[in-house]
Symmetry: C2
Subunit: 200 residues, 2 copies
């Protein structure tokens, strides 16, 4: 039996997909393919949190091991959640409250596992196809299982190869209708959420 107000079932389960997103700043590659830790981009936090809130994601993890970058992220968020910004524009506050800043993807997985009482299935994103690639339709159907999922987005020139191959699945690349495929991570996140969770 479901509570119409909250969407929660009597057993405490909800029928909303349990999708988390993690924006990763390490380990990613630079233009030359070298593994680096990338710098935070202010608008990644704003745009991806607003899209995540619009599509009902459970949380938006920002992953960086760098202390100064974590402080920067905290400052941006608290301006809009605690400070003047939260009063001026509550819509931004509601979105940015989804963000959790963490050191590593493994810390993210452990946290989701503890919260959901189930280890999350991990899905990496990449501009190339892999043997473990799944389509949007397949991923959309998988989300109906009720299992928790972590969608991993990379910054800079993308996730380091080791992290892609360690993920349970890789989501197929977004194909537009040209040979050009260089979307920003903000645009890619919005399109992926819409394809996975948008109303049909």
């Amino acid at each position: 039996m479901r509570n119409k107000q909250t969407g929660e079932q009597a057993n405490g389960q909800t029928d909303m997909p349990k999708l988390y997103v993690a924006l990763t700043h390490y380990p990613v590659v630079n233009k030359k393919g070298n593994v680096i830790a990338s710098a935070l981009t202010n608008l990644d936090l704003h745009d991806i949190s607003r899209a995540a809130k619009t599509y009902g994601l459970k949380s938006f993890f920002v992953v960086t091991p760098l202390e100064d970058q974590k402080e920067l992220a905290e400052r941006i968020i608290s301006h809009w959640t605690d400070g003047f910004g939260g009063v001026y524009n509550p819509h931004r506050r509601n979105a940015l409250e989804l963000i959790r800043i963490r050191d590593s993807l493994s810390a993210v997985y452990e946290e989701v596992a503890a919260e959901e009482k189930s280890y999350p299935v991990t899905v990496a994103t990449c501009a190339r196809k892999y043997p473990t690639s799944i389509s949007y339709k397949e991923f959309r159907a998988m989300l109906d299982s009720g299992k928790p999922y972590v969608l991993i987005l990379g910054t800079a020139w993308g996730l380091a190869e080791e992290f892609i191959s360690e993920a349970d699945y890789v989501l197929e690349p977004i194909a537009g209708n040209s040979d050009y495929n260089h979307l920003s991570v903000r645009s890619a996140a919005a399109i992926i959420f819409d394809r996975l969770l948008g109303k049909k």
Copy 2:
């Protein structure tokens, strides 16, 4: 008869949709509903041009009547098209080359009409529904007609009412799967292009 290389038909017509996008900085409304000219956002130019290039749009018009804002836009674009940036990252150059900076929407319509030998159909975007609202499916089918279309995006708190009511159609709002609907214009543009032009 169609040339497979270029997609052009023998009569010079192409079967690619003729979709143009215009990002409007005037007249838009601020939080209080007053009509203003909004300031340019650097990442709007980058993100929307990259998404427009990915989805095969014909051009990306940036509309502002303010001289200093036009100069700012020119500087951003030329850094990536003529300067060091164009050599360092040709993908950005290819995308930013789609941008044309113009004073007004009427200047945009006249230019498209001259180029296409047909006055464009105009489609505004808004977070509310209108009597002239069309669905994504309807707009997608209309693009197959071969007519030129201008999709109008607003900045700040959205397009001024007069411009929405003057458009031929209004595109239905993007519904995520929550009550929250405050996407950035960059995210909204990416989702709209994907819904209208993404491969099915």
